[in-house]
């Protein structure tokens, strides 16, 4: 019975993972569009003030169980990956 309960919970984790995966890639597409707009404006991609705003929004909207600092660490990993995605796009556009 307990192992069945574990299976059900694991199924739920897989479902949530797929939703997070989908949202991360949706976010990636938006970030790519932002990168293109910034390129035409000649604006720097990395914006520490904006990053701080986004981290503050996490703090304000966190209902747990994760600690805010833990969630902000996860989001910083996402921000870093997003910046790399913009850089890759820029590199590719310079090559063609």
């Amino acid at each position: 019975m307990v192992s069945n309960e574990l299976d059900v919970l694991r199924g739920e984790i897989e479902k949530v993972n797929m939703q997070i995966l989908d949202l991360l890639n949706q976010r990636g597409s938006i970030v790519q569009q932002i990168g293109k707009v910034k390129e035409t404006q000649g604006v720097k991609r990395f914006d520490p003030v904006r990053e701080r705003q986004l981290l503050d929004l996490i703090a304000e909207n966190n209902e747990g169980p994760f600690e805010t600092s833990t969630l902000q660490h996860i989001f910083k990993t996402i921000f870093k990956a997003s910046l790399e995605l913009q850089k890759d796009d820029n590199r590719k556009s310079l090559l063609v």
Copy 2:
């Protein structure tokens, strides 16, 4: 006009961030339940085979634009935070 476009895209990022935040905490709650089940079973919390399965599922379902390796890195950060959450719960239950 361009700055307006940037504002719209930034609004979309904030919306997606809040959805990711919500899913991460939903995932945290499920992970806490898994921790409790494992505790009653005396099963180890960290399961590298299961983690591998979850990472493979990311690879199979990734439609981009993020590289699979990037997404797996983000998910490993989430897995690590989840394990810490279970440990904290266990520590608390030992203290009462």
